[in-house]
Assembly symmetry: C2
Homo-oligomer: 314 residues x 2
């Protein structure tokens, strides 16, 4: 038997067939922009799920369950996608629509929960009884996984919309100073452009072919650029502020960083972050300190985790 | 059978005998300053627990268990009080010492966890499957209670040390801009004194007999004082910032406010807070909004909750 995991992304919808070793053995995808409503998109999910099964050389009755990671709020119990930001779901009865075409157990959860479950069962969090995952992308996603005698619990948060700098940068949520306005990949790109305007001679103008990305400042810093070094230092400091808050709130054993920014070298990202965060959580003497690791599965975490939703508590 | 709950406060240690209706039927207390070490204090706890049993007219073998709420970090499993701020515990084997004098089941937890458990079982959170409690006192305490098919889970957080204003007011934890530097009763008193210095004609100088407390600014505002009204507005705004963060992180159904400040009239505190927080969590459309209530048990929450620790998961 296999399971299917579907990641509903802003750009692509990807279905993967996942075996009992938690490996993706086949995948099918379609562009998200092909669908205008939640109903249409759900039918698209049925279609890529079936296509993935065909590509795996399997039959539909060999599929144990289908899990779907939704970029927004879901009601797991009813299988309704309540509200999404980068997808057209709006109180869409995804399970009901899916099952009207293919009668298989369908589980829904938030995409950040799927990612943390994937990393927890098949990635960097396999040994941990309580870890958090932060994804530095368009925004800052935060989710956590707890193992107990009762099973595995995953939860998503909107911790990217935790204000760390009251009155600061305006956020899409309507508040000012949200963490993701400082620590997302999007924010880093904006900060890079701003720093470039202030430093006409900076290597950031030319490095990496002149295209500004989340990597630009880190690359220029490594090449010895002073403006880039200052920017990276400020970025890490703001990131450490939010991470220290999260540690004070949740006390996780392990923090797993995902998203493009997390691919920087450990000596440029994890190590300085660990140091900054330790300084900022000093009063927690006697409490086990939090380790930092890199997410291991990349974008596949969401697919694997969606497929394995039946292994987590609802 | 009864249970004993002990609240280890900065000023007093109080033991209460709690019956099966979750009511305190007798209590005994002693001053915290009588004890210099964790060992000495633990023996003091044995003594007030025994005294409370005597005052209830009961025998020791009618006591099912003793629960102790510690103002700091505990290892629930081993019964060790690892570190406390306003008490002399330092890796103190509280359970072992207690049981060397009285062999009864002894449970330890953080005092904020005890308070939320007390409110959850006998106070404002009896109907809620997931609520948070914030105590506005010397600092800002935050804890939560979840009911599930597996039982009741309580957890404490150090959310008072969530930075909401990077680079702001210096905190005892070493960081700048922690929430409790703006929203604790201590912070409100400091802000009141600062506002008074700026406003020599303010009613805050004379109202309430001229003694500055957490109530001064609210009282002067109700009497029509402009400086006090401005201060209260700023205080509520900072408090709402932290509460909105907590809602974005945890999505509780209910928020219960405790501590002296929470005793202000609802039209001066809960209602404006609900409005401010709703504005700041507007992007959460489609998600059930969070209700605000006043803690019901006051200081007794910690005693009742400590007594009932055997009803929560460890």
């Amino acid at each position: 038997m296999v399971r299917i995991g579907i990641d509903v992304g802003g750009t692509n919808l990807v279905a993967g067939v996942v075996n009992d070793n938690y490996e993706i053995i086949a995948r099918a995808k379609v562009r998200a922009s092909d669908f205008r409503t939640g109903e249409e998109m759900t039918l698209g999910l049925v279609s890529i799920a079936r296509e993935a099964v065909r590509l795996a050389g399997l039959e539909e009755d060999q599929v144990r369950s289908v899990g779907i990671g939704i970029p927004g709020t879901v009601d797991q119990r009813t299988g309704v996608a309540i509200k999404t930001v980068n997808a057209p779901f709006d109180h869409t009865p995804v399970r009901e629509i899916f099952q009207s075409r293919w009668n298989v157990p369908v589980l829904l959860n938030n995409d950040a929960c799927c990612a943390v479950l994937g990393e927890g069962l098949a990635g960097c969090g396999q040994e941990s009884s309580f870890f958090m995952m932060f994804t530095l992308g368009t925004g800052v996603g935060g989710s956590y996984l707890k193992r107990s005698s009762h099973g595995i619990q995953v939860r998503g948060t909107e911790i990217g919309h935790m204000v760390i700098r009251a009155g600061g940068q305006l956020c899409s949520c309507g508040r000012r100073g949200c963490w993701e306005q400082y620590s997302s990949a999007t924010a880093l790109k904006r900060q890079t452009r701003e720093a470039m305007e202030q430093a006409p001679d900076s290597l950031m103008w030319t490095i990496g072919g002149g295209k500004v990305s989340g990597r630009t400042s880190f690359m220029a810093k490594r090449a010895g650029d002073r403006a880039a070094a200052e920017l990276v230092e400020r970025y890490l400091s703001d990131l450490a502020d939010g991470l220290a808050n999260a540690i004070n709130i949740f006390s996780p054993e392990l923090i797993c960083l995902g998203g493009g920014v997390a691919n920087e070298r450990e000596e440029d990202l994890q190590y300085p972050l660990e140091k900054l965060v330790a300084q900022r959580t000093r009063f927690r003497q006697g409490i086990q300190s939090t380790r930092f690791v890199k997410a291991r599965l990349g974008n596949d975490a969401g697919i694997v985790g969606a497929a394995l939703l039946d292994l987590a508590e609802n």
